[in-house]
Symmetry: D2
Subunit: 270 residues, 4 copies
């Protein structure tokens, strides 16, 4: 993803976008070919082309050769199991202060969409440790991260977090599991005091269970929110929103473990 060259090179991750925005993500490999329902594209023809170029399949159908953005990579992963959308991920990274060189924990690897975003955000000096209970799901995520060349920034652990995280003093911990309320003492133990906890929950009932668990463990600065993304038709003479939109992905909850001066002091919600 750090390619600064103007032309596509063997080994680069590339995105081919055809008519109706149908798109393919591939790693350019000499000798290989991409089969599409609009014809075949040979990697050898793509290698060396300027990024942004229009190229053609053997049937003459046009495609554009692009470097995929993080949002595109995540969108592709999401197709399998995830509810995490770029609109949520971007806000989570900013709110949790996740950046270059950090060590971040994740619980609920899933298909690896959020793991990808985290690994991208912490850069080559940072590291992600991600927990998952199901081996098949973990393997899917490992494959997805390997394909994007991000595996060396990630440690995959196959474990039940009921017995706690191995890590201590972590900057930030993100959870994407249905019952975070059951593991807040474990989260507290793994996070640095004042660190960032975040999670996403699809239903409001789950929030009603999580909030008391956070209060019990002296988390404060609790925020509950949702992000909504609305697209417009990009036609200058008739600017208007699209007819339909995604109405809901999940509620985001953020909180920070604090150290009250007195034992058992209750931190009241705002």
């Amino acid at each position: 993803m750090e390619n600064e060259q103007l032309t596509a090179q063997a080994g680069d991750l590339a995105q081919l976008v055809g008519l109706s925005h149908k798109n393919f993500i591939l790693r350019l490999t000499p000798g290989e070919q991409l089969q599409t329902h609009r014809g075949v594209l040979y990697h050898n023809d793509l290698i060396g082309k300027l990024w942004g170029s229009e190229v053609f399949s053997h049937l003459g159908n046009p495609f554009f050769l692009l470097q995929p953005a993080l949002g595109e990579l995540i969108r592709e992963i999401r197709r399998t199991t995830q509810i995490l959308y770029p609109k949520d991920i971007g806000f989570i990274l900013i709110t949790m202060g996740i950046g270059s060189g950090q060590h971040v924990l994740e619980a609920g690897t899933g298909s690896g969409a959020m793991t990808t975003a985290l690994a991208f955000a912490v850069g080559p000096q940072g590291h992600i440790t991600t927990y998952e209970m199901r081996p098949d799901i973990q393997q899917l995520a490992q494959k997805n991260l390997a394909r994007l060349g991000l595996s060396d920034r990630v440690t995959f652990k196959l474990a039940n977090i009921e017995s706690g995280f191995d890590e201590r003093g972590t900057d930030a911990l993100f959870m994407d599991i249905p019952n975070p309320e059951d593991y807040i003492p474990q989260v507290r133990a793994a996070l640095k005091p004042g660190g960032f906890f975040g999670c996403i929950l699809p239903t409001l009932n789950q929030i009603t269970r999580l909030l008391p668990a956070l209060h019990r463990e002296n988390f404060a600065f609790i925020e509950v929110c949702e992000t909504i993304l609305r697209y417009y038709k990009p036609v200058a003479e008739r600017i208007r929103p699209t007819d339909r939109m995604v109405a809901h992905t999940g509620y985001l909850i953020f909180a920070r473990p604090i150290i009250p001066a007195k034992v058992n002091q209750r931190i009241e919600p705002v």
Copy 2:
């Protein structure tokens, strides 16, 4: 921002959050003190404390000692001139694929809120070059970036972009000026083919002017959208949205310069 220690150190950026979430951002400096309307806090008392600790002013009023997240830092800068909110910045970074090690251009430095976010996102291996026409505004941004320790990742240029950017082959270019439609050829020249262009515009009339300018210069994959952030009261027994919310910050427009196979080929909007 890459502090992995559990305790606050001299030189660290810190945030003190008092009652009613009133907060202060400061760099810890031995011998200095912070004056608040709820009493004085001595930096010497804060240095060495665990992050997340509750501390007290000389009048006995409580504050929590935290490491500020990127969102908080931006929020503070914004207070002066900016319309860029964390909800927009997070989505912009993801959509434009901005990450570790990239070189990103910005036009319209303003008070430096977006510059901060970009510098944070590209990490110590990346770099930001940002253009601004007004010297007083530029100095404000320089001061803001210096305070956050991010100055060495940023080149500030005092120039009118009408005569073009000095850079070529850039990964991504973000604009926060009222009339981006006047500089699209300059943007095209500075960006790598297939690179990422993004901007924010408060009114819909501005979008009607920008879209034709993008089409003329062979930008495609144009997206127009807005992000909306809705907060909920974090009270488990009475979950409901807050009574009022921010209704509008700006419309986001994204596009990528492409290279059509034929000269003067018109790329139609979706």
Copy 3:
């Protein structure tokens, strides 16, 4: 629609709602039958049944026998050509103060969805006059209104409003045409001073053309807004919004013709 009886009577408008909320609207007529893909229902079997009853087709498939609400009637009409949704209609009626006994003008009869709502709202003592240029569209609306038994509250005019409305001193005038900016003097002439003008426009470009036309003709109290309706899954254990929603129907614009004390006084927008 004013049926106060508990049982379905011959001549009543009825709604049959089957599995998956598939529904049919019909006028109960002795001897007739309704053909559905889930079997036949005989009107004679429905007449005399309690409203709300579960009834069965000749194949044994269940349906509920209901009196249709205005929203349902409009939803059915809308299926043909309209963008007017109940969420917009309800807000329009309230904002324009439309109620029992009024005389209301409409321009752009269309398929008659808004005409139906207006006729319903003014009651048997009120009256609607609606203008349409295309005879085929007008006939569709006449058929829709007749079916609902509301024809005697409506005068249908086939005319181009360029030459003006025949009416004077009207309480309220609603327009659903693409270019209302071309007919504001005609609207002004037909409306009572201080009366209510309202219209719906799908794009923001149309609003930029309408606003100056309203200012030129001394309309004030101009409001531009949009209504958004978000549904939730009605499951007590997992309360959450539906995954997708209608993102846009149209922008609503309201204004009132006023009489400034001085000639040519310009009424400034807020």
Copy 4:
């Protein structure tokens, strides 16, 4: 409200809107005067003026003389205790099919905002019966309705609905109380089968309690939704939403009592 005259008459309800949209609602009475902080207006000077006219206080400050819309009347009432906004009321009336000549029940009269809307919608041939437990609140509502000349369409009952409603076979019943789940059998007994039940609840926790109560009493076609109203600045050259908006008033829940063919048949949610 059914005034069809072009000029303001003694006895009419009038609205005076001054600078900054500051407004007053009054009933025109010969000899009376309106005191405002921008000067005095004499009713005698207003009577006989064209609606929509610009008039002046004794200090020379301008006001416009208008007939108030239902939305305005409700907005004024709401200032005291209510959460019901025109955006919700309009959608409720349409969804519950409330129109001319109907008999509608209300539980929770409050300050009478919804009672006003219901009385307006059913017209002179319809009737509203509204229940309230607190005498002081009821008196406030009675005063509000009397002022608007709608008292003869409303029966006010001072009673606890725990012992049930006196009415049977009602078309529609609207509730604005915090615990509707405690009175669903009483609602069922008062409503016509297939009739319309509606209520508004501020929190999601309340919905989780109401839904099972509705299922137990054989209500079906349950809908949970919220309406959102977004205003735009009406300036043609700079069309954009207002900076802030109302984010939440309440969730709307609608349901209809049905008669299943078999005893104890459970109607599943969609």
